[in-house]
Symmetry: C2
Subunit: 278 residues, 2 copies
């Protein structure tokens, strides 16, 4: 498993890199970023995954996420994958919330999406192996977070893969694709009309069906335009309460859905993960 | 003096805004960003100016500069102007280092630049008045910093306007346009062949000619591709030494010219300014 270095820049004493590789899982070239903090030679560091939201690539959080200071302080590797397969040969849709940039972290079952739109396998299996082989990563200590669609990805991947992810958080996550227009469009298109098959891609349904997390941190802005119709944080709070999952769900007054919100609470999240990974 | 709000987002307890206005100084619409940290009603806060480098607008540092956390902590307003006049009616050049995006913080004397390329007057006079009129700014407490061409702008504006700027710093500044290709091209084009007229736009020459600063912080990466040919930090160090200006000039091992470098040391700079403004 080889990768190509696109750029490496020193930052906060470590190296912020951007790499690409040929992905078997999704059948295209995929770009991702990795921040490796300063560390002693030979050390193996915990890994924090960050899954991005609709329309994003690795670049949004890499440039705007303000995670490097905290990751350098705590000694955590930060990995930011892309949100979908890419390239001229990949099927797409005109909408911003379906097709490229909107992989929804599923393995698609419907055509023409089934060959390439396999972001679940990419994030759960292929990319972790690549990270383990090429970076000083201790894969026994992984945490996961994400924003919006990526918050959905983080929650569902963590719920399906316990105890692999020892720490879980999210920024303004889509908590139940079964119950919002973004989710209905994406899962209807990628997975098909059988909603029973959607449940493994729905954090609330996974909890209802018995999946558990050790605990959970969520920040959600009260001025987020998507809160009422798409994100529905309350459904997650209720599901966690019923299931006995200790969830710290913070409604942040006046914050919106942007990276100005994410950067404000990023250090809190890194610290949360550090407390569970170190 | 009125401005139009393009966006306002809550971040680190304050408001990151982007605004535009019609500039008399440069004769075009100009966009700038202002971060106002959380503060008590009626309070007047110190102002830190950040001047950007070649090809940049207000957006680069606003998105990538990682200054909000520190400005919120210290209670400092952060203002990021554009780097040149903009618009279809403004003369331009194909090069990245002349014309739009490359105003060099001068008042041009040569045609066709003389009407619009008046960034010196814009930054020194017009925009401060607009800030004073529209934000909770204490204009008796101003500091200035900048990157590359903007470091040149910060140094020269501070040197020409003492004691207005009580604190001065720079990231990888162009220290002597008289002695580098970027400067020769820009000042030759905007000011003309008489190099005596360049000296008010050259930090080293201003110091040689008697201008002084109370003290100075500069960070410069050793892996910066522009260090040897364009930036020439050593000329500034020598001029400060000869003039008795206390200059903290830090060569940062392995850092390049990018915002990954800037973000690493931004909090140090905000703290430096806070120590002199608060």
């Amino acid at each position: 498993m080889s990768l190509t270095t696109l750029s490496e820049n020193r930052s906060h004493g470590g190296i912020q890199g951007v790499y690409d590789h040929t992905s078997d899982a999704v059948g295209t070239t995929m770009t991702f970023s990795v921040y490796v903090p300063p560390h002693e030679a030979g050390a193996k560091l915990p890994v924090l995954w960050y899954l991005s939201g609709l329309t994003c690539t690795h670049a949004n959080v890499t440039e705007k996420g303000a995670y490097r200071r905290a990751c350098a302080e705590h000694g955590i590797i930060f990995v930011a994958p892309d949100t979908s397969p890419r390239g001229d040969d990949v099927p797409d849709d005109e909408a911003y919330d379906f097709g490229k940039g909107a992989g929804f972290y599923v393995n698609a079952l419907q055509e023409p999406w089934a060959r390439n739109f396999r972001m679940r396998s990419y994030i759960e299996d292929e990319l972790p192996a690549l990270i383990a082989a090429n970076f000083p990563a201790d894969m026994a200590r992984q945490g996961i977070t994400g924003h919006s669609m990526g918050g959905h990805g983080a929650l569902t991947i963590a719920l399906r893969n316990q105890p692999r992810f020892k720490s879980v958080s999210a920024f303004a996550p889509i908590v139940s694709p079964l119950n919002c227009p973004w989710g209905e469009k994406a899962l209807g298109g990628y997975i098909g009309p059988d909603k029973d098959k959607w449940r493994e891609y729905d954090a609330v349904a996974l909890i209802e069906d018995g999946a558990r997390l050790p605990d959970l941190l969520v920040d959600q802005g009260t001025a987020d335009n998507f809160l009422t119709e798409q994100l529905k944080t309350g459904l997650l709070a209720l599901a966690c309460k019923k299931a006995g999952i200790p969830a710290t769900i913070r409604m942040q007054e006046g914050y919106d859905h942007s990276y100005y919100f994410i950067e404000t609470f990023m250090e809190d999240h890194v610290k949360w993960h550090a407390g569970r990974l170190i």
